[in-house]
């Protein structure tokens, strides 16, 4: 996964950096691309207040200088360049930002980066192995468990934890224990089917 991540930051032609570059081009030369993420969240960027934060994300150590207000979600998206985790409500109500911290699913929008040091953060980008997609990712594709896809990374991270917790044995259980992830497209029946499909492989692996 680190390869893909780095590529998305440096290739300079993904959708995200294009938007950032376009937005900033009136005042900033595009050569500032590498620093572009810093320009995107002015409210969080007060370098005089920045503190050293070390996060372990998908097995890689990341040393950052962050405003103490930075959440894990913003650290991932705006500072590390891992934009798979999504910002939906930013208040812990929708589950789009779900990541695993030390194997437990949490909402990264209500977790301060400073408080998440020395813990293992796993995001959607860290889920797939060398052999291809994680069984839950494949199941979401096989079962057509999304429409717009915005909630999907959070759904998948939550679903992996749901299975590992032992809460995916019945349809009712899956619905109850996936209730922290809202899908505005209402793909719920297919999400239940995907969780059921992937569960045996995850429990075996």
């Amino acid at each position: 996964m680190p390869d893909k991540t780095d590529a998305s930051i440096t290739s300079g032609f993904d959708r995200r950096s294009f938007i950032a570059g376009a937005a900033g081009s009136a005042v900033l030369p595009l050569t500032a691309r590498a620093e572009a993420p810093a320009a995107m969240t002015p409210a969080l960027q007060d370098s005089s207040r920045a503190v050293d934060v070390t996060l372990r994300v998908n097995g890689e150590t990341r040393r950052l200088k962050l405003d103490p207000r930075t959440t894990v979600l913003d650290a991932l998206r705006e500072h590390i360049g891992l934009t798979g985790s999504k910002k939906g409500c930013d208040h812990g109500q929708c589950g789009a930002c779900t990541v695993l911290i030390d194997g437990r699913r949490v909402v990264s929008c209500l977790t301060l980066a400073l408080a998440a040091q020395d813990q293992d953060i796993t995001t959607i980008e860290g889920l797939a192995g060398r052999d291809g997609l994680h069984p839950m990712q494949q199941a979401f594709i096989d079962q057509d468990a999304f429409q717009c896809g915005y909630c999907t990374p959070g759904q998948i991270m939550s679903a992996v934890a749901c299975v590992r917790e032992g809460h995916a044995t019945t349809d009712d259980d899956i619905r109850e224990y996936m209730s922290g992830n809202i899908c505005r497209c209402a793909a719920y029946p297919n999400i239940v089917a995907a969780v059921k499909q992937a569960a045996p492989a995850i429990l075996k692996g």
Binding site: R105, T111, L112, E165, Y177
Partner: protein, 338 residues
């Protein structure tokens, strides 16, 4: 969110001292310049909303190993305040001996939030009243003492019908607290002058004329744990809400019964979603004790529990709903196999 500085707690006493020093005379704990950070699910949310505005946070998660034990010692249950809701809900001994506790935790929030949120923070979570949470509303006596209450004649469908005042009708939102108050739990507190234990029923304050004061905690106080005497295998937490899952209660009931040969030896009743504070219903309990539980008695107990309830334009339905939820919870508890 406003800027803040961050530090980690090293030991409970030092954290209590630091927190106490951050409260100026006459100021509210909830407005103290330093706030303790545990799970963060309420605090960070309210800081983003600009409802809470601490200048510094003291992260008490480093105290987790000291304050998160869950243990059945003899006849007593000890719950560490930094235990996470999900872990306590999944604890086999608690599910067996205290289903009302396990279910009150399991039916709250979402799996993610239950993985984060602590028991101590849970009982201190603040109301979901929209007029409190949205700072663009000027009239909120809890947030802005003396400014009035927009909920009295506003959109008050989710608001309280018990324990209200003319200054505030905001609902206490939690579930677990109802289980604690029903079971006569006590709270362990570490403060600036040492540790002490108080009845859980004395932790929260009804709004009265000072809705901005929500608890009896003193500057520097940290909740370290809870103790429950005795076991309550015949106990139920029933929660009615707009969605089947991941929603606050419109009405809930925590009940625990001790029944022998068909007679109720002891009964504990608490109500959630309908009151301004965790709400014990002693009138209902008194009717049930020493009686044989049947439909008529259950109905009388439910009527008694809501005798003082006062509905407003949009929330009057909660009185009838609350009675039915309590009646059903009592019948469920009575027929449990224990």
């Amino acid at each position: 969110m406003r800027p803040f500085s961050y530090q980690r707690a090293t030991d409970p006493a030092a954290a209590a001292q630091a927190l106490a020093a951050a409260v100026s005379d006459g100021h509210l704990l909830t407005e103290a310049s330093m706030q303790p950070l545990a799970g963060g699910t309420t605090l960070i949310d309210l800081m983003k909303l600009d409802v809470m505005r601490p200048a510094s946070l003291i992260d008490i998660n480093p105290l987790t190993s000291a304050w998160s034990a869950v243990a059945l010692d003899g006849g007593d249950l000890r719950l560490g305040a930094l235990a996470r809701m999900a872990d306590v809900a999944a604890h086999a001994e608690i599910q067996r001996n205290y289903p009302v506790i396990a279910d009150s935790l399991k039916l709250a929030a979402s799996p993610q939030l239950r993985n984060m949120a602590t028991l101590g923070g849970n009982v201190l979570q603040r109301t979901r009243c929209t007029y409190f949470r949205d700072v663009s509303y000027g009239h909120c006596n809890k947030r802005n003492p003396g400014s009035g209450c927009a909920a009295l004649d506003g959109f008050n469908r989710t608001h309280a019908v018990l324990g209200t005042s003319e200054q505030c009708i905001a609902t206490y939102p939690g579930d677990f607290a109802q289980a604690l108050i029903a079971l006569d739990a006590s709270v362990d507190i570490t403060g600036r002058s040492g540790t002490r234990q108080v009845a859980f029923a004395k932790l929260h304050k009804a709004p009265g004329d000072t809705p901005q004061i929500e608890t009896t905690l003193a500057p520097g106080d940290l909740i370290s744990g809870f103790t429950i005497a005795g076991r309550w295998p015949r106990s139920v937490y029933l929660k009615a809400r707009d969605r089947q899952s991941y929603e606050f209660a419109l009405s809930s009931a925590a009940v625990a019964l001790d029944i022998e040969d068909g007679m109720v030896r002891d009964a504990r009743v608490a109500l959630g979603g309908v009151a301004t504070v965790p709400w014990r219903a002693p009138e209902a309990e008194a009717l049930l004790r020493g009686q044989r539980l049947d439909d008529a008695l259950v109905q009388r107990a439910a009527e008694a529990a809501f005798a003082e309830a006062r509905g407003r334009k949009h929330n009057a339905f909660k009185i009838e709903l609350g009675k039915r939820v309590l009646a059903r919870a009592l019948k469920q508890a009575a027929t449990m196999e224990v």
